[in-house]
Amino acid sequence: MNIDAISMRMLSNIGVGVALADPEDLRIHYSNPAFADWFSIEEGTSLESVLGNVERGDLLNELAERDAIKLDVAVKRKRRLLTIETVIRHAESDGRKILLVECQNISRLRETEAMIDSYARIAERKARELEREKAQVEKLLLNVMPRSVYEEYKTFGTVTPKLYEPVSVLMLDFVGFTQMAAAADPTVTVTELNDIFTGFDRIAEMHGCERIKTIGDAYLAVAGLPTPNPDHADAVAQCAAKMIRYLERRNETHPHQWRARIGLASGAVVGSVVGVQKYVFDVFGPAVNLASRLQCLSKPMEVTATADFGEVGIEGFVAGNSRSVDIRGFGPTDVVKLQLEGAIELAA
């Protein structure tokens, strides 16, 4: 078998459509079976007629300007619309100019591209949903632990207990909350408590304090944690003053009177995430216990703090009643009372 015979056999069997046409009148002189199958070829069929919406003049002009032109031709086979990628280029055979037409059925490629586009849209949508869920989870976790602790938890899956020193602790509870909850509609009482704690959260945030937790009607906040703050004592004192003032103002217009007692203490605390399934960031240590004991010493709408808090000047608040108190677990401790100026005048 000579080379020509092999070439002809190959041309007859390949899946690529091949045709030869005259560059002058565009008549097709030869087409292989694949080409003939896609386009109905008869004796004297011209190239522009198989290309669909192509004007003869335009085609000749384009061929005069370029070495090759490429276009997608739509061919209907039964119910399917095939996309045939067609390249027409100038060639020469035995010194005679001809047009070589090569065609490939790229329908499957186009279908696969459409399918990948479809899947990409599905995947992108899913990714956006996951992103939203992740943000929601993050928001929830940031409610129960400081951001830096959350970052540590996210990276290592655990949080190492850490000593924070010095920090100041604010402990608050309400006078007569139990009776109030029993006397009034408990849902109303809890709704009001929620409003007040939300207000406290804003005040705490404003002064760089971190709300650690609430236990029933008690509210625990810390300054100087997780980021150290040299003004931690000032921060909790300002916070305590604002909370008392906030309640004063609220009580003027509300039927239920909320009266808080606050204790402030400085010292060291250990902070960590406690729990495996139910995480909570909590603090432990002498400062927490002392603040809690001092809070018990306070009268309604009064703040009791260790003596060093007397140095902190808070506008509208006065320090007084310095005394030494024997506190369980701490022994004799110098304490001071912080009170709204108006309240002192009334008491006097």
Binding site: K78, R79, R80, L81, S107, R108, R110, E111, T112, A114, M115, D117, S118, Y119, R121, I122, A123, K126
Partner: protein
């Protein structure tokens, strides 16, 4: 033994598996003389998108095809019960060739069947 929480989508290879099923089903649907006309002259990209979503959804993949959307897409087509039967049969054949185990095919075809009332046009006598 397969994980009971695994969807058919996951079991049969995720998107690469579904891709083969969609391509094969697309061919069969267009070639079929009973239902082929529904797919004639439909924009190829739209049809492929619909079939990808539909088949991935049926197999428990990450797509939810809403009933409203399904009803809207088929409302003007006047699909009758014998057309629907043919589509279900074509899907079953496709899944046999894709190597789906019998119980999995039954589950997938049942998922198609569950949508019959949304796709088949309402009887005028009703």
């Amino acid at each position: 033994m397969t994980n009971s929480n695994q969807t058919l989508y996951e079991k049969y290879g995720g998107f690469p598996g579904v891709r083969q099923v969609v391509t094969d089903f697309y061919e069969r649907a267009l070639d079929n003389d009973i239902v082929g006309h529904f797919f004639e002259n439909v924009n190829m990209a739209r049809l492929v998108d619909h079939q990808t979503r539909m088949i991935a959804g049926l197999l428990g993949g990450p797509v939810e095809v809403s009933e409203t959307r399904l009803a809207d897409a088929h409302a003007h087509l006047n699909v009758e019960h014998h057309h629907f039967d043919e589509i279900a049969a074509l899907l079953n054949e496709t899944l046999i060739d894709a190597g789906f185990e019998r119980p999995d095919r039954v589950a997938a075809v049942a998922a198609v069947e569950a949508r019959r009332s949304i796709i088949v046009k309402r009887s005028r006598a009703a």
